[in-house]
Symmetry: C2
Subunit: 218 residues, 2 copies
């Protein structure tokens, strides 16, 4: 009998595909589909069946020969892999439009992400609530972190302040940062940083537009 290595390193590429599998399986589940083969799923998702099977088998055999995958089971297993079976308390630093947009996005809660507070420097925002969650002033931040069990901070502030605030967060126990500031954060390597660089995304779009035009001109 072979015991599998517990900590085979899963590649970034695989991880980045899991949320998409999760999304499609959720839709199938809503549609009342009970089972699906890698072949059928591959057609829906426009990826190869091989890739689906290969990806899933990084985490164990969720399927059954001759049958395929049970949608409900696979959905739940991928959820567990992604850590969505646990709750994660988070705060938002920067209660501008983007911070408020994230705060209003209630469906994060369904995946276990519980917003505990927003913070801002703008005194006009003091005490207002978004979905019942209070906006606090930045000078309350450190205290709040010490009295609440917060895992994640979303940074929706200008890049000029981002590096400084990130340091404060890390010094006060935050272990994961969801970074929307247009800058890279260099932090201790046990701190997880997931960046969403909107302008980078827009630039890739722009590249593809230019590209298409070049091809046309030929």
């Amino acid at each position: 009998m072979v015991v599998k290595l517990e900590h085979r390193k899963i590649s970034r590429a695989v991880i980045s595909r899991l949320p998409r599998y999760y999304r499609f399986l959720g839709e199938l589940l809503d549609a009342g589909v009970e089972r699906i083969s890698s072949g059928d799923l591959s057609k829906k998702m426009h990826v190869t069946a091989s890739q689906i099977r290969q990806d899933l088998n990084n985490f164990g055999g969720f399927g059954q020969q001759g049958y395929g995958y049970n949608v409900k089971h696979l959905y739940s297993e991928i959820g567990k892999i992604l850590g969505l079976d646990k709750t994660h308390n988070f705060i938002i630093i920067g209660a501008g439009n983007l911070g408020q947009a994230l705060a209003n996005y209630a469906s994060f809660e369904k995946s276990g992400f519980i917003l505990k507070s927003l913070f801002d420097v703008n005194p006009r925002l003091e005490g207002i609530s978004i979905r019942g969650i209070r906006v606090r002033m930045m000078d309350e931040l450190v205290d709040f972190l010490h009295n609440n069990d917060i895992e994640i901070a979303a940074l929706t502030i200008p890049k000029s302040k981002a590096v400084e605030v990130a340091d404060i967060l890390v010094k006060n126990g935050i272990k994961a940062i969801w970074n929307f500031a247009h800058t890279d954060l260099t932090l201790p390597k046990d701190v997880i940083v997931e960046s969403v660089h909107l302008s980078d995304s827009l630039m890739q779009l722009s590249y593809n537009i230019s590209q298409r035009e070049n091809v046309r001109k030929k």
Copy 2:
């Protein structure tokens, strides 16, 4: 003399790194740095010097042996590659928090992205302006598209409406969609779709948190 192939296909991986090069070069430029070697840049960006040279040489030789790269020149060249030397008119569909956040993000304009209007179904938003740009009602959309030269539409609406609205956009000449709805869009292949799936990003963050905890427990 060898003439280079005009349309060598550049890989997605390379393209996705260009905005980051652009960002770092912009910072160097602001800091008054005149030239930089791939070696020094690699240290700043935490990538290999080989990768930088390899990436850049997909587009031509921007450097000089024994000297390195002229920051200003390289910045401008990457800008051209990304299409940032041209202006791109765009609209935002969905003037909720996220739509307004994008509308307020003035720095897109510096890269040539000009917001011409927002659209929403909520009558309360009719006629209001964000940075001087009017919010219009969805029933004005088709007319607006025919009377204005709009290249890009940002979709910041719930996924339930996204597919339907995307079809309308494409039928009326939109050639690129910046998609924030939590769904994939299947559109004709000459339509460019760049998706920002915020919940996918948060799930990757969550995976990394779980992963770190597993490692600890050992």
